[in-house]
């Protein structure tokens, strides 16, 4: 799974890269030229308006973000309150359902809608933290590997090859086994599993950028290596990083749900979609809505992110149309 979203390196003739080689440009301007803030912004906005995929994705993402942000204010009930009459209360669309529990009640008499809304916070929090850590660590190591080459590159690349010997979830399980399940283990395990996605792409992009003239120019006027990496290389790789980060957010949300479902992620009573689905599994026959509420939430979130991620990828490199 971790490998499914890797981008192939774009070639130097690509429209984005041609704009890079301006040796006279100030570092900031170089960054802007690679992904010109205004023109790229306009380009993305225009493309977005034309793309049903991008618009649907963005709308779903905004919805989930809004819910996650406002959840404590908009939830109809207390997420931990166990009310006897609400036990297995059918959802509003069922014959005996009521609007008190729009998505029904669970086996302990808690309101499912309330917990689904609050679950968005957990999913989004895990996803943002994990992808931030993985993208920063992965991009830095990838840039260092690609920029310096030689032994540094060999060590980092072998580390990546080696890590690829462990399937994604197995790697996470190892962390759970060592550190015990919980929120911080979950974040650590998923970050560790995902950094290679960023490192591989950033490395190959860095290899390409390093050979361009403006890097030589920066060198010749005495700019330090670390400064070249931070202000010349990384800004030019940013579009690729953004595409992977977007798609990986969906990956993390699914992985968080899966691990929580296995009882190895977020621990009860924190409302997590995966955990709720796991709890509902035992009552499929009598209360299928216990699975449906959180299930639809996971599904809509990951569909939204995947749609938007693919839209971004199409803009970044039209030849890489995965969908």
């Amino acid at each position: 799974m971790a490998n499914a979203h890797n981008l192939t390196p774009i070639d130097p003739a690509d429209s984005l890269s041609v704009t890079l080689a301006d040796p006279t440009a100030h570092p900031r301007q170089t960054a802007a030229a690679a992904f010109p803030v205004e023109t790229a912004g306009t380009r993305i906005r225009q493309a977005l308006l034309r793309s049903a995929k991008g618009m649907t994705g963005l709308a779903l993402i905004l919805l989930v973000l809004l819910v996650a942000l406002l959840a404590p204010m908009i939830v109809p009930h207390d997420p931990a309150a166990q009310i006897l009459e609400w036990r297995f209360a059918p959802p509003a669309w069922a014959a005996e359902g009521s609007v008190t529990n729009l998505l029904g009640g669970d086996n302990l008499g808690r309101d499912i809608l309330t917990r689904v809304l609050l679950g968005a916070r957990v999913s989004i929090a895990v996803a943002l933290i994990v992808v931030s850590i993985a993208s920063v660590v992965g991009s830095l190591l990838g840039a260092v590997a690609g920029y310096f080459g030689g032994v540094v590159d060999a060590v980092i690349m072998r580390l990546i090859d080696f890590q690829l010997a462990f399937p994604f979830l197995l790697l996470a399980l190892i962390f759970m086994a060592i550190l015990g399940p919980g929120f911080s283990t979950l974040v650590l395990a998923l970050s560790f599993a995902l950094w290679i996605n960023f490192a591989r792409v950033v490395r190959s992009e860095t290899l390409r950028i390093r050979s361009l003239e403006f890097i030589d120019a920066a060198h010749s006027i005495g700019v330090s290596h670390s400064r070249i990496i931070m202000s010349h290389v990384l800004p030019n790789v940013l579009p690729a990083i953004i595409v992977i980060a977007t798609l990986d957010i969906a990956l993390v949300i699914i992985a968080e749900a899966a691990l929580s479902f296995l009882g190895l992620g977020v621990q009860p009573p924190t409302p997590s979609w995966g955990l709720m689905i796991s709890e509902g599994r035992d009552f499929l026959h009598d209360a299928p809505w216990m699975v449906l509420g959180p299930g639809i939430a996971v599904l809509l979130t990951s569909i939204g992110i995947n749609l938007f991620g693919d839209f971004l990828r199409d803009i970044y490199d039209p030849r890489l149309q995965r969908l």
Binding site: F162, A165, P167, L169, A177, G280, L284
Partner: protein, 329 residues
């Protein structure tokens, strides 16, 4: 070619040694050690007993020595004793490996059997309603978590329609084929196979999505090649051109990807086996973590990783053998 095989083999062996080292060192990383865990389940154990046991298990030796002992035992087929079940961990894994392997086999078979036709049709009917439907399937495929799909399938086909079993395993379906043919009774096969249907579909769905898109784009690319135009100009029937000339070449990239997908399949079985109470190594891995049964965790991780490295090696060599261009590439 021989040289290539040898380099690849040497590299795989190197990775396997690394994997074994990591697995052997795992035990050093956990808070406490296996003896503490055993003692927790056995209040009668004295401190002397614990020290003796530590010594017997080799936990007092330096890490490098522990690694060599672990590696030597592993080569001899001894992967330690499961703390929880008090039987050799290797035995537990061998018992469960066939169920996982066969589940993965049916999942890949279903994935390819569905993905290839979808890929061909969506490539030929590009930008039509059929193609858009294919896109929807692809988005759903990468977005639906496997465990959710599994539960929804159980809800529809087991709970509501009562067509298929919700969980369990009734022996190998592949192994039942000969006796089903010999006795002329297909129900022998069906009785085992029906347990495979829902879990393998849950595993296969994401692969269907990815592979269908891959076949589509690869097919579109191949159809633009000169030799296809030439075959058309020659007046060959269109069916022959699509199936014999185009598809063959379009399937090559799929082969490599299927190899890479074995990893995601292994990840998938961890979750899907838990959903369907499947007696495979994926579920064993989750149980081992819940039980904090470290020797068993080590064994499962070691076997899964080695298996994965080995399968990737096979796929890599197979790909180079099938596609002569890769020799020079």
């Amino acid at each position: 070619m021989l040289r290539l095989v040898l380099t690849r083999l040497a590299y795989a062996v190197l990775v396997m040694i690394g994997v074994t080292f990591v697995v052997a060192s795992l035990i050093k990383l956990i808070p406490g050690d296996p003896v503490d865990i055993m003692a927790a389940g056995n209040p009668g154990m004295t401190v002397e007993d614990m020290d003796k046991l530590r010594h017997e298990l080799g936990l007092t030796r330096p890490i490098l020595e522990q690694f060599f002992i672990y590696a030597k035992n592993a080569v001899l087929g001894d992967l330690g004793i499961s703390i929880r079940q008090r039987v050799p961990a290797a035995g537990l894994i061998w018992e469960r490996l066939p169920a996982t392997a066969e589940l993965a086999f049916w999942a890949i078979l279903i994935a390819l059997a569905v993905a290839i036709p979808i890929g061909i049709v969506t490539a030929l009917k590009r930008d039509t309603a059929i193609d858009y439907a294919g896109t929807v399937v692809a988005v759903l495929g990468v977005s639906v978590p496997g465990f959710l799909l599994g539960i929804l399938l159980i809800l529809v086909f087991s709970v509501n329609l009562r067509w298929l079993p919700a969980s369990g395993f009734r022996g190998s379906a592949l192994a039942s084929i000969p006796s089903a043919i010999a006795s002329g009774d297909p129900s022998i096969f069906w009785n085992a196979f029906r347990y495979f249907i829902l879990p393998s579909i849950s595993l296969a769905f994401v692969l269907v999505a990815i592979n269908a898109r891959l076949v589509r784009s690869s097919m579109i690319e191949v159809l633009q090649q000169d030799y296809i135009t030439f075959a058309r100009a020659k007046g060959l029937p269109i069916r022959i051109i699509y199936l014999r000339h185009a598809l063959r070449n379009a399937l090559l990239p799929v082969l490599t990807v299927v190899g890479l997908q074995l990893g995601s399949l292994l990840s998938g079985t961890i979750v899907i086996e838990t959903v369907f109470a499947w007696p495979g190594i994926g579920r064993l891995a989750v149980q081992a973590v819940h039980w904090r049964d470290y020797p068993l965790i080590q064994a499962v991780v070691l076997i899964s990783a080695l298996l994965f490295v080995f399968l990737n090696l096979v796929v890599d060599l197979l790909y180079r053998w099938i596609d002569p261009r890769a020799h020079h590439g």
